[in-house]
Point group: C2
């Protein structure tokens, strides 16, 4: 199978971007990615876009074609993937397969979401479509409630504490201070997180990722071609995707997202490396409990020991394995369709040594972990210098 | 590049299916496709789904994972593609690339839409998201209006008549009489079509495809493997996809869908055959004018001569090139995300000699043509016996 590398990355500022529409956001990130790659747009052969809920949020579907149109890339084949909050990573994986198949050599992959044009309740219902509409959302269970159930069970089984979850928020907001693209540049103390109001007990406001507008684009190419295009392409050396029950009720247990375990296993097998080889990781912290579960399911820590690991600083910038150096979904923001692609952007910059104040020393291997819904889709990718 | 063939097909009845939800529809079609292929479900390695507007229509996104879950296929990688009314074909193309890349050998591809759970106005707005929300839908231009503009221009430039458009409806409803899965089993005379009320002049009610619930599934496999699996796999010998301006205002002219021309050219080049080699075709007749433009843009007839060709019976069951033997979107129905996959089902049955009363004699080469929106995405596929 042909190998795929990233040759250019671009991000918009994440946040409440009142003065830009979805199409403007994706164009901005796209032009930055093309500039970063040093290629002319004419070398691009196809477009993949990840967006979750644009139909509900801005009345616009057909996002692949919209992106191609907006970037002046007609008549290239344009695709939109949707896998809830994992839409961006699923778009990236399918773009990779388009290159692996020999159909294309250079592909643009965008993730984008414009979430602030409707009221917060409508955003909650739109995002609720990532779970099971019939057995969850219809009965009032929006996402904070679903993750609260997982958090409660994790506390019950492993003694994980609200303070440990809060430490995830403290760490990620600290990391976000060094990310110019992050939605929040604001540090919080443990006390401040603990004193924020409950959204769905035990999850408090500051345990939750925000509502965000934003776009991320990467340009990918067949690796041999990539090496001729840019000084330091970043190769995707392993990629795994798995599905799981869309409703929590279908799970064997609530403390593990099994699709993470399976996707990670595939990615590590493909890359022929182990979890100890990873130097930096972006994981899906839509809620603080999600980061704790992720670092366990990915194998960085044993099941049940994630909370303690965070408390002991093992996942901090100077810890054993720096997690969410970008600030994560928590502080960088979570424009759902963009998130998977934005995670790849952070890892590329880390491996290229361009992460500035967030730079992890001697970062050779990076990992991204992107979850759709409460775990019905998970993508895990592994990266190193090509 | 590895070759891909279809080894099993399944359809639900198309229509207003009040007693089945989206997940039940796709499960029904999926089980039929698996049964048709003769394989056990365990040979399937990934799931691709095409759905356009489930977020708006049933409050459910994350359709790939939902389908995998419903079909008992967790933890297989599950993907949803959205490209408006071309969602099904774009899903099929990406599933093909997943096989061509070597990532998978056997993949299930579903298309599904559940359109009757909301009122017709909401369906209109949801479908309007296939065009340009900002410059078209926001100002009141839903799809009948957009295609009416194309029809008016076609009449002006080429003398195409309302009667010629009506003849498309007469033909497709006649064909639909022989399709047990069609939404309508009702023939119309030219006079009846002409006397139906205007929806957006010159398009009348009976020029428009209906609102439909339904699902279609095909099982595809690498061709050498496919030959060992079933007696007569149908190979996809050419596939082209192109994008075009999402808004009509961005087009060079309104009488051609340029993405059709480009996608067809690619498909024919890949298959190393010409349009004269095609024996049967399913084209995207969301409105009658769309079929006339399609048979011109695909090269069956010269630009401007499509209307006359229909009038002269050249596209009838016993004509030069039978078009929409299934009844087309017009009579079979148009569950938007399912349509592209359902077109493939019809061509497979034609080439396998299983089309019963709709059977085209000596059908060796088939074509499908699936349009997203007013032409911002087009997929053209070519098929023959493997």
């Amino acid at each position: 199978m042909r190998s795929v590398s990233i040759v250019g990355v671009g991000l918009t500022k994440f946040g409440e971007i009142w003065d830009k529409s979805l199409r403007e956001l994706v164009a901005e990130a796209g032009l930055k990615a093309v500039a970063d790659s040093g290629i002319g747009g004419k070398e691009i052969e196809a477009v993949y876009g990840g967006t979750m809920a644009s139909g509900r949020l801005i009345g616009q579907e057909h996002i692949g074609a919209l992106i191609a149109d907006q970037l002046g890339l007609n008549p290239l084949p344009a695709h939109r993937m949707e896998a809830a909050c994992a839409s961006g990573s699923v778009a990236l994986r399918n773009a990779m397969m388009a290159i692996e198949s020999g159909e294309h050599d250079v592909v643009a992959v965008g993730g984008v979401e414009k979430m602030t044009e409707v009221d917060t309740a409508e955003v909650g219902f739109a995002l609720g479509g990532a779970g099971d509409q019939e057995t969850e959302l219809f009965h009032g269970a929006t996402f904070p409630a679903l993750y609260a159930l997982m958090a409660r069970r994790h506390m019950e089984e492993f003694g994980t504490t609200e303070e440990q979850m809060a430490q995830v928020a403290v760490k990620n907001h600290k990391n976000g201070m060094n990310n110019p693209y992050a939605q929040f540049h604001k540090e919080f103390t443990l006390e401040q997180v603990m004193n924020s109001g409950y959204v769905a007990s035990p999850l408090k406001l500051l345990d939750c990722s925000p509502i965000t507008d934003g776009a991320a684009v990467v340009i990918i190419a067949e690796t041999e071609k990539a090496k001729k295009m840019v000084e330091q392409p970043i190769e995707i050396i392993g990629s795994g995707q798995a599905s799981g029950s869309i409703a929590l009720t279908g799970r064997e247990n609530l403390t593990e997202i099994k699709a993470t375990t399976i996707a990670a296993q595939k990615a590590f097998e493909q890359a022929k490396i182990g979890v100890k080889d990873v130097n930096v990781a972006e994981v899906h912290d839509c809620f603080t409990i999600a980061e704790i579960m992720a670092i366990e399911d990915l194998g960085f820590f044993k099941k049940g020991e994630g909370g303690k690991a965070v408390e002991q600083g093992k996942t901090a910038m100077d810890g054993e394995i720096p997690i969410n150096t970008s600030g994560g979904l928590k502080a960088k923001g979570h424009p759902v369709g963009a998130t998977g692609v934005a995670q790849a952007v952070e890892i590329v910059q880390q491996l290229q040594g361009k992460a500035e104040k967030r730079q992890v020393k001697e970062a050779e291997i990076g990992l991204t972990h992107n979850v759709g819904g409460s775990g019905a889709t998970v993508v895990v990718n592994l990266y190193k210098k090509a």
